[in-house]
């Protein structure tokens, strides 16, 4: 009953968005305000209806209504309340629904919070968003219906995937999807600017803000996903370059490149067409990533045809690309060129272009690596694998290039090859970087790296990161000096700069963290009750395996008393867990973190008879915490930059100065 109503609401959403597209296009042609307002209401109504449908689905989840196939598939009677909430997006249909829901919501917000400067392009924005949404609703109704009924209703469900029963899975998918769907707004604005034939003054402000929002959400989402992998999968890493991760990383790279292109456009009016292309591609690749991971094409070309969702996605992606390419082909010449004829030379804008080049190259490499197995299988028929070693051949070099580009680019100024106080700053930074690097090397225990090449790479990389950080800070200091340390003025006028400063520092911390992770120590040890093992300065004493019930899971905990240099510092309980709906034993990782490294212990096996004997896998993971801190700093930086009121308002500044 409720399920039928939910399905009906989604159907109404489809009809409403289709009407929205048609009315928006006509409104754009006739410049008819009432028609446009009607189209905006169509999206608003879709938003309201899909939110209602989502609430119904949640309601049925909490009522354990197994007459709905999706609920039967992803939940069970023993599921705790919080995971009943998140079971919503634990499988294909629901995550698809979440995607659509978020796109609907952000689209509605974008249409209602438009700037008056953009009124003339809003019909195109509305049409673009609803065209994508219309297709999403169609897919939701035809191929991944979350409200599909199951007859007869079963007494208990199959249960949620046990790996997803983790707090990080509660926030990771919505955050990441927020990033994906928020990218639709800059893309819609780009298509609108193209249709309209010109980028007008108000366009940049809105696009920049949405891009930053998407960037923050993507950054947070990707790192949360990494954190989930780290604490749940038990292989002591957080990034494996697997296709799912790559497909979230590619839009991030495009989004970052877009931000840098927007900066150049804001300051100089250059790179307008590149901005439009990047904004579209960022969104396109977020869709593309969903396609390659959802359609099964990634495991084999042959599984692609098994589900109708794959060919559907492909048709839509190709159609979207074609339509935008045609619009671009016809309308791009009408996008006005920059204001004045300026040579690029050695300048900040050149550095920004180089940064974009590096980001896009990395995106291309990740894309090639992700798609290569499919291409190879399709062309030569031979199955191949592209995993971490391939990506690790290229990514570190680009990362180091970015570190240098960040330092130089931030010290440079627009339209001049002069670097105010540059050489002096670089020299001071190099001097400051030496003790900083030494601290990192000692704290992270870098010197115990075995291979000379890895050691050298780490030392050089850490030094460059420290140097770059010092350069950025020096540049910040210089700017403050220019304002005579008037912090009020600085924070009212330079939030974008300050946010950018934090985001860059965050990235440098992250890269330092990645470099530290190069060297991990591991040991596999089988201990009997009462036995103690020495591991990298820690002494771990095994007590026994205890069986503990926690929510719906049965945990087999191997309690370890940890002491360091003889002094006890606590107990950790790595465990295996068994859920009633699955026969597998999951890892429950035990972590003991310090600033410099994590002691990461998993229980790999234990004596099931009397629990007196167990095998542990012990890891020391250096500088993992750097990566989490870095993500936090980057997101804060992005959010601060979002609230800059002056960016993109050059004329407003000018008018104030003139009056």
């Amino acid at each position: 009953m409720l399920a039928d109503l939910g399905f009906y609401l989604l159907l109404m959403c489809l009809i409403s968005t289709c009407y929205g597209v048609v009315s928006a296009v006509l409104a754009a042609v006739w410049r008819h305000r009432r028609l446009y307002r009607s189209s905006r209401l169509a999206l608003t109504a879709s938003c309201a209806m899909s939110v209602s449908a989502a609430i119904m689905l949640w309601y049925m989840f909490f009522n354990r209504d197994y007459s709905v196939a999706y609920i039967f598939k992803t939940s069970s009677n023993d599921l705790p309340q919080v995971y009943t909430l998140t079971a919503f997006w634990s499988s294909l249909e629901g995550s698809h629904f979440l995607w659509t829901l978020l796109l609907c919501s952000y689209g509605t917000i974008a249409l209602w919070t438009y700037s008056k400067d953009n009124e003339h392009i809003m019909p195109y924005v509305s049409a673009s968003i609803q065209a994508v949404l219309g297709w999403m609703f169609y897919l939701l109704l035809s191929h991944s219906d979350p409200f599909l009924r199951l007859f007869p209703a079963r007494p208990d469900g199959q249960g949620m995937n046990t790996l997803l029963q983790n707090p990080y899975m509660a926030i990771h998918p919505p955050t990441l999807f927020t990033g994906y769907t928020a990218l639709a707004i800059p893309a819609a604005y780009s298509v609108a600017a193209l249709c309209y034939g010109d980028i007008t003054e108000g366009w940049l402000k809105t696009t920049r803000r949405w891009t930053l929002y998407a960037w923050c959400a993507l950054t947070a989402g990707i790192i949360l996903g990494g954190h989930w992998a780290y604490v749940e999968l038990g292989w002591s890493g957080y990034w494996a370059w697997d296709p799912v991760e790559n497909s979230s990383f590619i839009p991030w790279l495009f989004c970052t490149a877009l931000l840098h292109s927007l900066v150049v456009q804001d300051k100089l009016g250059h790179l307008k067409r590149l901005t439009l292309i990047l904004a579209f591609l960022a969104f396109f690749f977020s869709f593309f990533g969903t396609f390659i991971t959802r359609s099964g094409v990634i495991s084999s070309v042959h599984s692609f045809a098994e589900s109708p969702i794959g060919p559907n996605y492909l048709a839509f992606l190709a159609g979207m690309l074609l339509v935008v390419a045609v619009i671009y082909g016809f309308r791009a010449p009408s996008i006005l060129p920059p204001e004045a004829d300026k040579a690029w030379g050695v300048s900040k804008e050149s550095a920004l272009v180089i940064t974009q080049f590096l980001l896009l190259t990395l995106a291309a490499i990740v894309c090639v690596g992700t798609l290569y197995p499919i291409v190879s299988e399709a062309i030569t028929g031979e199955r191949t694998t592209v995993q971490a070693p391939y990506f690790n051949t290229f990514a570190p070099w680009i990362g180091l290039g970015l570190v240098v580009a960040i330092a130089l680019g931030n010290m440079m100024r627009y339209q001049t090859s002069k670097m105010p106080g540059g050489p002096k700053l670089m020299a001071i930074a190099a001097a400051v970087a030496v003790p900083l690097t030494a601290a990192l090397v000692i704290g992270g225990d870098v010197m115990s790296t075995k291979k000379p090449f890895n050691l050298g790479a780490q030392l050089v990389g850490l030094f460059l990161c420290a140097w770059s950080t010092a350069c950025l800070t020096g540049d910040l200091w210089q700017r403050l000096q220019d304002l005579r340390f008037n912090l009020g003025l600085f924070f009212s006028r330079n939030l974008a700069y300050f946010g950018g400063y934090l985001a860059h520092i965050g990235l440098l911390i992250a890269i330092a963290g990645f470099l530290g992770n190069y060297r991990g120590l591991q040991k596999i040890a089988t201990l009997t009750s009462g036995e103690t093992i020495d591991f990298y300065g820690y002494q771990l004493r095994f007590d026994e395996i205890r069986e503990v019930q926690k929510d719906n899971a049965t945990l087999y905990q191997g309690a370890l008393d940890v002491s360091r240099a003889g002094a006890p510092i606590g107990a950790i309980k790595p465990a295996r867990s068994r859920y009633p709906t699955s026969s597998n034993l999951n890892h429950e990782v035990a972590l003991m973190s310090t600033f410099w490294h994590d002691l990461y212990v998993t229980l790999s096996d234990f004596d099931r008879e009397n629990g007196r004997k167990a095998t542990f896998e012990l890891h020391i993971n250096p500088t993992v915490r750097f990566v989490w801190i870095a993500a936090f700093v980057m997101v804060i930086g992005g959010l601060i930059a979002m609230f800059d009121r002056y960016r993109g308002n050059k004329s407003r500044d000018a008018i104030r100065a003139a009056i």
Partner: protein
């Protein structure tokens, strides 16, 4: 004994292939089912044997996981591969020989990065091409062109604001 083990592996392997195709709708790297009876072995990590073992096991993929090497995985299948790797390392084979051994049996699929031979060369050349040809392309399309391109008579926003205020002053007087 060896051959018995291999036929068993191949049987599991074909089963797994079918399964992964079905199970990829899952969100992230799922580690394969753990055999409850498999006794975890303390793999060597030091000395020449340990180093070679790490290197070889790190460049073979775990057949049942997404994105992991057999070294990082404790799925049953990975354990068996690691066992074979260790045996061959101890038998004095070098890296290439062991990898060759696995490639012959499972195809290049088992290697974590495609061997740069035949069509695979393309996968390795593409990034290098982008890195090498990119900067000249940027120079050609962005920098060089700007110098000759006409600005089509469009003034800067500052100039237009100046004009606007000039006009406003005229109108007010």
């Amino acid at each position: 004994m060896m051959t018995i083990q291999f036929s068993r592996i191949l049987k599991i392997f074909s089963l797994i292939l079918v399964n992964t195709a079905v199970a990829t709708t899952l969100i992230a790297g799922e580690s394969g089912p753990v055999d409850e009876d498999a006794l975890k072995k303390a793999w060597p990590s030091d000395g020449p044997v340990g180093e070679l073992f790490h290197e070889v096991a790190g460049s073979l993929r775990c057949p049942t996981c997404t994105g992991l090497s057999v070294l990082e995985s404790d799925a049953r299948f990975s354990q068996q591969i690691k066992q074979i790797v260790l045996e061959q390392v101890e038998a004095g084979k070098n890296r290439e020989e062991i990898l060759q051994h696995f490639t012959e049996r499972y195809g290049p699929w088992i290697l974590r990065s495609p061997p740069p031979r035949g069509f695979n060369v393309l996968a390795w050349l593409m990034p290098l091409t982008i890195l090498l040809l990119g900067p000249p392309a940027v120079w050609f399309f962005v920098w060089r062109k700007r110098r000759v391109m006409n600005t089509l008579g469009v003034r800067s926003a500052d100039d237009i604001i100046k004009e606007m205020h000039g006009r406003l002053k005229e109108m007010q007087t």
